[in-house]
Symmetry: C2
Amino acid sequence: MSPNPTLPTRAPSTEAHRFEAYLRSKKLKLTGERMEILATIFRKDSHFDAEELHAELKTLGRDISRATVYRTLDLLVQCGLVRKSSLGSSHANYEAAHENEHHDHLICLSCGKVFEFYRPDLETLQDAICQERKFKPLHHSLQIFGLCVDCVDKADENSIRTKVAQIHT
Amino acid sequence: MSPNPTLPTRAPSTEAHRFEAYLRSKKLKLTGERMEILATIFRKDSHFDAEELHAELKTLGRDISRATVYRTLDLLVQCGLVRKSSLGSSHANYEAAHENEHHDHLICLSCGKVFEFYRPDLETLQDAICQERKFKPLHHSLQIFGLCVDCVDKADENSIRTKVAQIHT
DNA sequence: TTTTTTGCAAATCGTTTGCACGCTG
DNA sequence: CAGCGTGCAAACGATTTGCAAAAAA
């Protein structure tokens, strides 16, 4: 008896397939630049911005223009493979949308570390709020800014106060 | 027996007094521009951005430079009289911090209306999450994007999808 | 070969800054 | 009259755009 064909046989790079399908569906072209950008993003484990991604591609020997990086990031956000969230900065940050998990963020104002968390009861509560208000939720963002264990004792109160005022949510 | 002197006797423009106290505490100066900006903000009832505020001041006959508007907004945020939150746009939005109430936002992606809500149990839940993670919260932002009752039936699905991708949280 | 994508450089947009002058304390 | 605050215009930084050349379908 052969292995069950419905079980994925260690699907090589689901994200590449998803992106290809998306491009085909929009009659867009599958280019080397687009695929390299996607692969690089999914090789990373954390948040990044367009500039960092552009720099990383350059160190990998792929000198892709900033314009193309921005245009491709837009496509990837459109098809759900990448998420955008500023994390309090005034410019855009991104992260690969591994699996289909959703999560929110704790952001340390001192060291900049970002901690992800997911609480089903938080989602449920939000849905309840929306239902009460007859509002149809499509997207949400919860960001909690503060100090992580490592920083809580050593952070300078004044510089933190300044940072709080500059948060861009 | 005279009235209890600790009870405020209908304080005229608490916010002006708070701002004055803040300026004095920082050895900053109480100027006409600063006071006009504060008064104009507290006369408004909704969210606004720097450009709108600048324009409104101009129609009021006060031609205050954009630079001063930005500098004063920063001061007001620092002293807690004004709150900053982009509401999903890539530039800063502000709102007067009437009383000391805190609230979160529901933002309609079709008509742009903003609905405020406050749920104590949501705050409690967030505190619980932070305690579990040993994270000291200093500020948070919850924004729920979607469609309000008036728009839920008439919004164009494609343009909404585009807007979701452009949200800047 | 038709259509889309790319890279480049210029343009844009919100915001910040340096500086000379003006006003507040 | 000593500092701060102001307006101006230039500088900024992230992102977007028009266009001609290059690559994918």
